[in-house]
Amino acid sequence: MNLDRDFVLGLYRKLVLIREFEERVKFLFLEGTMPGTIHQCQGQEATAVGVCAALGASDYITSTFRGHGHALAKGLSVQEMLDELFGASTGCCKGKGGSMHVGNMAKGMVPGIAIVAGGIPLAAGMALAFKMRKTGQVVACFFGDGAVAEGAFHEGVNMAAIWDLPVIFVCENNLYGASTRIDKVMKNPKVSDRAASYGFRGETVDGNDVIAVYEAATKAAAECRAGKGPVLLELLTYRRTGHSRRDACHYQAKTEKEAWFSRDPIDRFATQLLGRGDIAIADLEAIKAAVEKEIEDGVVNAKQAPHPTLADLTTDVLA
């Protein structure tokens, strides 16, 4: 694919933004200034960026407890995210959601659903609304390999299939559900095979190759818009960090970690970009510097952002 220079630099910027954001958030937790718990996505940035690049502003995504990358990829700002993580009233969910529930409906992201597989039937329901109202919109539903064992996955994808709904089921297969490796909980570890048993198209893609993900998602979105949905994309990837805040990942083999770390999505894309001939290392460095500054400013602001008052406890419960 012959992709526009600005477009690919935009993808690179998003990848780096997510990585730097997550690294900074990790630091803020360890420093003790950020409350709550976190599930981070270092190493998985290309899945979020590739899929969201294939969507339009009026399309939606659903996410999980591990949603920071999805949010930034879909266009949420660093500031509204950091404010939310600090519990500020200026956060994307007014401080009521927190890390596991970041989202912004105006930007096409449902607050993260932290119940494993809980977003799958819900995304199908959103797609049913798009179909009934003939809006041409698509929803991309992110979930992990762990979600495939839940009843909600099977019920949701089957209904999406029988009604040809415009939903892209995006399984980020990072080989582990919490500490449990997929081979322990799946007799057939190829997640995309599930689609065939429900009569729709599934595909396994290198989830650490942002362009491969972008191309697969673009094709899937076009099929959905043409009434040929749903599509199941299995994106193979790996998390470079713990499952959550205090996880040392002793259940992952050293050799496995090293193999995946050498396939880092950002390093690989940088190499690809530098090989094009029209992008220099200075361009990439400038992007990284700008991203770092944006995050630095965001942290300064978020630490001073206003917090809700007790009167806010009882608002937003009913419409």
Partner: protein, 338 residues
């Protein structure tokens, strides 16, 4: 004697019961993975090496593995299942409520379902879906026993009693009570350690515990609220108000004998509950007390509970959501001084 926290006490209870009875086994997510965590809160850490094949790691499939536990229990096994967070009981609840709790009745008494389901609850900085107090949804389910432990001694003794019981037992633990130090320390964690005696003991599943004797007012609570009620009693004591504190502990059935004796003595009751006030366990408790001991009440029963809202993330709101000792003390003070 040794000093233990709830997580260690539960681990010892499981170890001893599994050693005593080969039909006991554990089933749940991430409970026995080598290099893993021993469940979300370390309770089963190290047990998979000790009991090969009897610490069963499942896929993320709460409805499924709960059904598996029910079926195995019907065939004479004694499973200890657990959900990583109580909130996931909503997924498991069809098997718990429609199958486990009803098998005996529907079969005309032919079937027993000797299983335990452990579930950690409580608001702990994790947002709305990893925070709910789930007791309320299960205390009105006939055929199910429901208990809630607030210290390590009870945790060990009641888990052993639950494993030996021939009925399905739902066993609630609180995330802020597993340990207040080290790896499990969370902001707001409370010391729930106990002196644990050597050797086997059980604690009955249907008895409340008087934690502090007093004559002026009865404070009722369980899980974290048992601790907050005790702290409130301390404050009140300094003001000349003599509060009795009861750890309700057995949520289904309630121990109206112990509770009633206290109500007869004090004539005043404050119930503290983490979780929305409307439809809470304290609603049933207040009604039950009014029905049975109404004529001994000098004042209507008072409830101190959370606002009728989902659990908020931001600490300022979450701390307000969770009733604290000051709110409980204020309610008791008002009851006495008007």
């Amino acid at each position: 004697m040794k000093r233990q926290g709830i997580a260690e006490a539960l681990r010892d209870a499981i170890t001893e019961e599994m050693t005593r009875d080969p039909s006991v086994f554990c089933i749940g997510e991430d409970i026995g993975v080598p290099g893993g965590w021993g469940g979300a809160f370390t309770v089963t850490l190290g047990l998979s090496e000790k009991f090969p094949g009897r610490i069963i790691d499942t896929p993320i499939a709460e409805l499924g593995f709960t059904g598996i536990a029910v079926g195995a229990a019907m065939m004479g096994m004694r499973p200890i299942a657990d959900v990583q967070y109580g909130d996931f009981l909503f997924l498991a609840s069809d098997q718990l409520i429609n199958n486990a709790a009803k098998m005996r009745y529907m079969s005309g008494g032919a079937i027993t379902v000797p299983m335990v389901m452990r579930a950690p609850v409580g608001a702990t900085g994790r947002g709305s879906q990893h925070a709910q107090s789930m007791e309320r949804y299960f205390t009105g389910v006939p055929g199910l026993k429901v208990v809630a432990v607030s210290n390590a001694y009870d945790a060990k003794g009641m888990l052993k009693a639950a494993v030996r019981d021939d009925n399905p037992v739902l066993f609630f633990e609180h995330k802020l009570l597993y340990g207040s130090k080290g790896a499990r320390a969370e902001p707001g964690a409370v010391d729930a350690t106990s002196e644990i005696p050597e050797g086997d003991y059980t604690v009955p599943l249907d008895k409340a515990a008087v934690r502090r004797e007093g004559n002026d007012v009865t404070l009722l609570g369980w899980l974290l609220m048992a601790h907050n009620s005790l702290a409130a009693a301390g404050t009140l004591g300094g003001e000349g108000i003599d509060a009795e504190v009861i750890d309700v502990r057995s949520l289904s059935p309630f121990d109206y004998e112990t509770i009633g004796a206290s109500v007869r003595k004090t004539g005043r009751v404050v119930i503290a509950e983490e979780g929305p006030k409307t439809g809470g366990v304290s609603a049933e408790l207040a009604a039950g007390i009014a029905e049975r001991f109404g004529k001994f009440l000098k004042e209507p029963v008072v409830r101190v509970a959370s606002a009728d809202v989902p659990v908020p993330f931001t600490p300022i709101l979450e701390n307000d959501y969770r009733p604290d000792a000051a709110k409980i003390a204020a309610a008791a003070r008002k009851l006495i001084k008007g």
